[in-house]
Amino acid sequence: MTVGIVGYGAFVPRRRIKLEEIAKVWGADAPAYKRGLQLFEKSVPGADEDTVTMSVEAARNALARSGGVDPAEIGALYIGSESHPYAVKPSGTIVAEAIGAVPALHVADLEFACKAGTESLFIAQSLVKAGEVKYAVGVGADTSQGAPGDALEYSAAAGAAAFIFGADEDLILAEIIDSYSWTTDTPDFWRREYMHYPRHGSRFTGEPAYFRHTMNSAQGMMNKVGMEPKDFAHAIFHQPNGKFPMRVGKKLGFTHEQLETGWLSPWLGNTYSGASPIGLTAVLDIASSGDLILLTSFGSGAGSDSFVIRVTDRISEVQDLAPKTRAQLDEDKIYLEYGAYAKLRGKIRMAE
């Protein structure tokens, strides 16, 4: 049975803060940070934007591109995030209710640092493939946290991407050819209960965590399907900053041209669970029929999910049915000063 994406959508908040604005407050060396991390600005959620609202926006955009999927026929919905608004109470129920998918569906919230988004994609497409549900939705969304002054503050951003999976060949706009995951216990980044901000293991987050898992997952994926980098029109990797995805892509043998469309982090920041899924939406926005796409996520802790995706003829019919990702990234931006940013991110302690 062929299973694939029948609808996709992204949501990126309008607000941005430039790296210089953050560096100015902390006395950091902005030009060196820009060179070192390849980050220029990042998205910031507004007062009324959180993982749930962004997931609703992205899911509605996915429905708009789905060619009339009846939300009532969605049998499962998963949201991967490390910033679910509630510690106890699901995000997925709110989103399912908002898009009209309740009550006959299975819902769960997932968490796996930056990888939870592709987990939701994996589970959703697997259930469709198993014939358990007609349609399933997978969402990756985050309003990620970075402690004031920490290196993560320059990257932690907000955004969401949603995908509807189905097996109806007339509706499939991108077929999921195969997937492959690579997981170990590598504690490179974590946030314990009651901790406001996450902690990271400094340089331990690079080679043994991001690079090892991403490389092994992507290479294992290509081995599994008998493909090599030149077979792909596009490759998208998890993007905790601007530098890592480009370096890992080039190490694997991909060219700048294959990587650039899905490479959003220099202007978006790291949207954690949303990062590589939003990259995929940007690629689908411009993809052509027959294009092969490699998607590899990474989540600290640590693991990487890979997918090989083939774009179908239907893509050109749906690309304009909802706001494109690059347009959301480039247009109608509102730049914030650090004070307003600190207020919106809850970094100011209020009277109780």
């Binding site: 060396d29 030009p31 060196a32 940070y33 060179r35 070192g36 293991g201 400094s202 340089r203 331990f204 080679e207 043994p208």
Partner: protein, 386 residues
């Protein structure tokens, strides 16, 4: 006093060796040195290690490590003088053999630094400064060396570019050393554009945080000749050590490294040598400014001429006095307790003519200079091939 020779050298690769614990690093280097010497019994083990307690939660190293080599029972001594711990371990072993207390000694240096994050590593290294007068006020080592750099620049006109050239040269040498942490060609612009750490020092002016171990086997020259057969024997002809104020604020002259100068003078006196006799030197370039100041303190260049000397290439691999052919702390890496031992490994390797692509042709007399803190201690050795 008996003459003392180096009959075995060994070291691990230096780097971020996350998979390897301290004891395994140490054993790898120790076994390599014993293999190189062709012996399996020693009378004493000395261990240079600065801060295994903070870095790995392990003290009582001497016994622990002796047992790791199956040598429980053999006397073992850990010595500590901050980043000069390794050099001091060499000197302690030298003294034992020279005095006749031991005939054959395994000298080791080790540090496992990457089990902790950057803040904890900075704290551990910071304990080498004066806690009450420096550390508690927030000064860290890049800050202390930045002050020395500023003073040197103001007094002698040493330039920012000259500091950068130290890093460029040492990375060029490190490219030729298979054990080096970084195999990375860099330019002056790379150094000038790297992240500011403590003005005027940037990231590429600073040695890295490193895991690694190095080892030597010392014995009497008499025994060395028997074991070596017709191979060249490398002899330690001079050993000097000196202390200085740990607190920079208590120092009379800040543009000079007094402990390095004194330790150098003592080593020269014991060996009957002068700076012009030395063919190559490993100096303690924990920061680029430290290399310039060390080459002046050891008499290779007049005070203030260290910077221009780098610029003119006098300290390059094919220069008048090659400095840090191993890549130095900057490129080879700086596992603090291992550094002083690894310097002697490099000089011995060079004097034996086994340094491969970085070999200094015809080198027969070399020097190793190790330093603790911001110059609060220094150990200098002169080695000659006979």
């Amino acid at each position: 006093m008996r003459d003392v020779a180096v009959i075995g050298v060994g070291m691990t690769s230096f780097g971020e060796l996350w998979e390897t614990p301290l004891r395994s690093l140490w054993a790898e280097a120790g076994l390599a040195a014993l293999d190189d010497a062709g012996i399996d019994k020693v009378d004493l083990i000395t261990i240079g290690c600065m801060s295994s307690g903070i870095f790995t939660g392990q003290e009582h190293l001497a016994s622990l490590l002796a047992d790791e080599l199956g040598m429980a029972g053999v006397p073992a001594t850990r010595v500590e003088s901050a980043c000069a711990s390794g050099g001091l371990a060499v000197r302690a072993a030298f003294a034992e053999v020279a005095a006749g207390l031991s005939d054959t000694v395994l000298v080791t240096g080790v540090e496992k630094m990457t089990d902790v994050d950057g803040a904890d590593a900075t704290y551990a290294l910071g304990t080498a400064a004066d806690s009450e007068w420096e550390g508690f006020h927030g000064v860290t080592f890049p800050g202390l060396y930045a002050m020395l750099a500023r003073i040197h620049m103001r007094k002698y006109g040493t330039t920012r570019e000259q500091l950068a050239q130290v890093a460029v040269k040492n990375h060029a040498n490190g490219l030729l050393n298979p054990h080096a942490q970084y195999h990375l060609k860099i330019s002056v612009d790379d150094v000038l554009e790297s992240t500011a750490v403590a003005d005027p020092l940037n990231l590429f002016d600073c040695s890295p945080v490193t895991d690694g171990a190095a080892a030597l086997v010392l014995t009497t020259v008499e025994r060395a000749r028997k074991i070596a057969g017709d191979k060249p024997v490398v002899v330690i002809t001079g050993s000097g050590m000196a202390t200085d104020t740990v607190t920079l604020a208590n120092r009379g002259e800040l543009a000079e490294l007094g402990a390095v100068k004194l330790a150098g003078e003592r080593a020269y006196a014991m060996a009957g040598r002068k700076p012009e006799d030395i063919h190559l030197v490993e100096v303690h370039d924990c920061f680029t400014i430290a290399e310039i100041m060390a080459t002046e303190a050891l008499g290779f260049f007049a005070p203030g001429d260290g910077g221009p000397a780098v610029e003119k290439g006098l300290t390059s691999l094919n220069g008048r006095i090659p400095v840090n052919t191993s890549g130095g702390l900057k490129s080879k890496g700086h596992p603090v307790g291992a550094t002083g031992v690894a310097q002697v490994v490099e000089i011995t390797t060079q004097l034996r003519g086994q340094a491969g692509q970085r070999q200094v042709a015809g080198a027969t007399i070399g020097m190793a200079q190790n330093m603790g803190g911001s110059g609060g201690s220094s150990v200098v050795h002169i080695l000659e091939v006979i």
